[in-house]
Assembly symmetry: C2
Homo-oligomer: 226 residues x 2
Amino acid sequence: MKIGIIGSGNMGRSLGILWAEQGHQVFFGSRDSEKGKAVAQKAGLGTQGGTNDEAAAFADVILWTARGVMPSELLSNKEVLNGKIIIDCNNQDIPEEFAYPAIVESLAEKLASDVPNARVVKAFNTMAQEVFELAPAPLKDYQVSVFVAGDDEQARSTVMQLATVIGFAPVDSGVLRNARLVEGLGDFIRMIMIGQQQGSYATISVNVLPKAEQQRLGGRQASALY
Amino acid sequence: MKIGIIGSGNMGRSLGILWAEQGHQVFFGSRDSEKGKAVAQKAGLGTQGGTNDEAAAFADVILWTARGVMPSELLSNKEVLNGKIIIDCNNQDIPEEFAYPAIVESLAEKLASDVPNARVVKAFNTMAQEVFELAPAPLKDYQVSVFVAGDDEQARSTVMQLATVIGFAPVDSGVLRNARLVEGLGDFIRMIMIGQQQGSYATISVNVLPKAEQQRLGGRQASALY
């Protein structure tokens, strides 16, 4: 798959390298072409680098790490994104004392409003950067969730695969409106990491408890608890 | 500990029985005294039952299951709650297509506004009823989180203990304002259970990944990813 990284900071570099290791073609974009090229040179693995415009033109799947900056502001022609999958991995700023404002519109929905012909998917906003050091192994042993929300089912499925190959456990989180809830999870885990001092390796997982146990203890439901 | 259950529906009965099994003194309250007594009679384990007023007067810790109904509406004298710990386990209604409104004020904060001299703690709102069938074993093997938010540290600590003894893994989630985020988790998991058809045994856990692994792979941080 051809993957373009818009804004090759820590988040973009980490995910780009992990996907390149899995055989994907990765292009690191930056506002400064030389910076994009330098990232690719250091990363190796057959990656390329250059401007954000070049990354957007190159790719089928685009990781958008420029928080709150819209394609109409960052690209010379946002139409290049039409039909493409855009992964929005961003969270709002952390406010003082973690007093997050209510999420009336998600960053992902705002992005989708700017490029209505692209297929925007929310994902990768509920873990710190440091967790990528553990990908793909031993990360896969921990069942760390990546919550994937977007209106295009095929785009969600593609992003879920991109999560799986680097060791995460994707959780289909439905339509793009649900990005409001998923960004709320991002706010929550940052409060736990920093406010509650659990550190950068604090992660969220959704687990469905095993059915065998449910059956074994099913008798309790009828007799004792209700 | 003396625990009063306000509103002895499924949630109240399950938690009350689980705590009674652990040796706590439990009083099941109801709008209808006879109903409260019937719940206690069926539950056994030395539990008592009667009116919500009686349950509130009896207890040091109160589980408030009457969603959105305030003490000033439900009790003849809300001052009986002064100084006591009130656990708010409620979530808002599920709206059509899970289009949850943004949480500007949590149910727990609303409760605390009604009884400012009580110690309100948000907890037990991120799992379905069915998960209690697995408590305390085999539940303890799954590390299912109970997110505990409240302004009184000692009250949070008490509620965390009450979660631990029945097999959950409590997560200190800080001040009561964070109940907005915790209620957002409750909205999210219900969307996953019902909207995404993962069922009632879908659970949320916060896990801190093991430090040994972090150290073993620490070299990757410096060399490859950044």
